[in-house]
């Protein structure tokens, strides 16, 4: 039955699925962006990188993607902390312990589709407002998808990650014995507010930091949600890279690979930080 496979074989399989695709993929992207491979490329050149950095497009894209990830995670963390501290036991058993899992059954693309149907100018919310007499015609309804404030994307992303954080905080609440700390604090005369802001929240945030960073990295790479709910500009990194690679101008392709390289190094850097921050090596 089970024999610990021999070491070399183990190592090879591991490398086959981790380091090899990584080196190969990144290598190809780097080579392409410097003009070393590709039908239309003519040998080593810095031109593609120069063009890429000559406009603000890529900087804006990185900032924009980070901002989206930051905003949706902040809202999500805020809601989950509030909910868990208000109802620490609700998610352990009973109906809510089931309901909270529902968004996890949604692939990003389905969530994006739903929020589009729900929030768009002719969507369900707009129809509801129309029935209630709040708006008279479609154009009266505020833009909630493909909008300047990115409400559509942020709502969808928050919806998708909410269960994870609620469950994370609910379990940390138990694991870190927050109840005991709180009791202790009350006994020592602390107010409820103090207990929450000086004890519970700092402990929960600190313990969840590696998870937050990992989630932030996931959000940086999100593709389907901004593709369906975002504006034509700015674009998130994935959307921008794919557009450069697959849309009109063939000469943009090396730039698309350059963006992929930038993104990969960004992820590497953030992962490195996440690893430094996590003392418990098992539970990133």
């Amino acid at each position: 039955m089970f024999k610990p496979l021999n070491k070399t074989l183990n190592f090879s399989i591991l490398m086959l699925f981790t380091l090899l695709p990584l080196l190969a993929g990144l290598g190809y992207a780097i080579a392409y962006s410097f003009g070393l491979v590709g039908v239309l490329n003519k040998g080593f050149t810095l031109e593609n990188w120069k063009i890429l950095f000559s406009t603000s497009e890529v900087y804006i894209s990185v900032l924009y993607t980070s901002w989206l990830a930051f905003a949706s995670l902040s809202i999500c963390i805020f809601i989950s902390l509030a909910v868990v501290l208000a109802f620490p036991k609700k998610f352990k058993s009973g109906i809510f312990s089931y309901l909270v899992y529902m968004p996890l059954a949604f692939p990003s693309i389905v969530a994006a589709f739903f929020f589009f149907q729900f929030l768009s100018n002719a969507g369900i919310l707009a129809r509801l407002c129309h029935q209630l007499g709040i708006i008279n015609q479609i154009s009266d309804f505020p833009n909630l998808v493909n909008d300047s404030y990115h409400i559509g994307i942020i709502s969808t992303q928050t919806f998708l990650s909410l269960p994870f954080f609620i469950l994370l905080y609910a379990s940390l609440y138990q694991a870190e014995k927050l109840e005991d700390y709180q009791k202790l604090a009350y006994a020592l005369g602390a107010s409820k507010k103090q207990t929450i802001f000086k004890i519970s929240i700092p402990i929960l945030l600190k313990r969840s930091l590696p998870s937050i960073i990992i989630y932030f990295i996931f959000k940086l790479g999100s593709y389907e949600v901004p593709l369906l709910l975002g504006k034509s500009s700015p674009e998130t990194i994935s959307v921008l890279a794919v557009r450069k690679l697959q849309k009109f101008n063939l000469l943009d392709i090396p730039q698309g690979y350059a963006i992929a390289v930038i993104y990969a190094f960004l992820v590497l850097l953030l992962l490195f930080i996440a690893f430094k921050k996590s003392k418990h090596q098992y539970e990133v």
């Binding site: 039955m1 024999k3 399989i13 591991l14 981790t18 996890l104 129309h130």
Partner: protein, 257 residues
């Protein structure tokens, strides 16, 4: 007073969690739905009977998606279990873990774009092998990372205990490791199933549109503005996870994206 606010919040939360599913199902049974109307003019089983009918592309792709997901989940779980043990007791554990995290954290679309060239070279584009391999590249790291928390000192101690008592490796595995790992294995299997089941970007690039999984159809229907069929395919995508949830809520924990 205070309690009513609390209940209101809970009610809102419950709505947020359930409304999307209810609405998607409603849309999947609808046909005409012009603007100011809140409810569709026509509710019908027609969409479902057409799409789930014999040989329709959607019912086919449901089977394709299911087979891919089951296979990917199975192999990722077994391989991940073995490899994670190797990493867990390796002196360079932390570096190896770091390397494993990287493919897991990377955006699958961008990863796919960078790997497409090699897949073409190896003849792995536009066929099931390619998709399975590509999905394994993201599911396996997840599985490894997942199992890393299983291989702790306690498990090692138990195993060593069996050896000291004169037990064989096989016995240690069958009577100690496997029972301990059982629930981990099950959860990991379902997680990997979902990673594969939910995948879109990578599959569309490596599959070349030839292997039409359910997520690819959802996108297709959205592109041709066929919202009722899109909603129906969405329901088909949501259904298996919801059923799993019914069995055991622990099956579903983490989601990428």
């Amino acid at each position: 007073m205070k309690y009513s606010i609390k209940y209101f919040i809970l009610l809102m939360l419950a709505l947020v969690f359930t409304l999307p599913i209810a609405i998607l199902f409603l849309l999947s049974f609808s046909q005409k739905w012009v603007f100011p109307k809140l409810l569709p003019e026509k509710l019908t089983l027609e969409n479902w009977t057409v799409i789930l009918g014999d040989g329709h592309v959607i019912s086919n792709s449901f089977v394709i998606s299911l087979s891919i997901a089951l296979f990917v989940a199975g192999s990722a779980t077994i391989l991940g279990f073995v490899l994670s043990r190797y990493i867990a007791y390796h002196p360079k554990r932390r570096l190896l873990t770091f390397l494993t995290y990287f493919p897991f954290a990377l955006s699958p679309v961008i990863f796919a774009i960078c790997l497409k060239y090699y897949f073409i070279k190896l003849g792995l584009i536009g066929n099931l092998y390619g998709i399975v391999l590509a999905q394994l590249i993201i599911a396996l790291p997840y599985s490894i990372i997942f199992f890393l928390s299983f291989w702790n000192q306690k498990v090692l101690d138990y195993q060593n205990l069996v050896y000291t008592l004169g037990g064989k490796q096989k016995q240690a595995f069958l009577y100690i490791t496997l029972p301990l790992a059982k629930s981990f294995l099950v959860i990991c299997f379902f997680q990997c199933f979902l990673i594969s089941w939910f995948e879109y970007g990578l599959t569309s690039i490596i599959g070349y549109g030839k292997i039409s999984t359910l997520t690819i159809h959802v996108f297709q229907f959205i592109n041709e503005a066929n919202i009722f069929y899109a909603a129906l395919s969405c329901c088909l995508l949501i259904l298996p996870p919801v059923i799993l949830l019914w069995f055991n809520k622990r099956f579903i924990i983490q989601q990428k994206g």
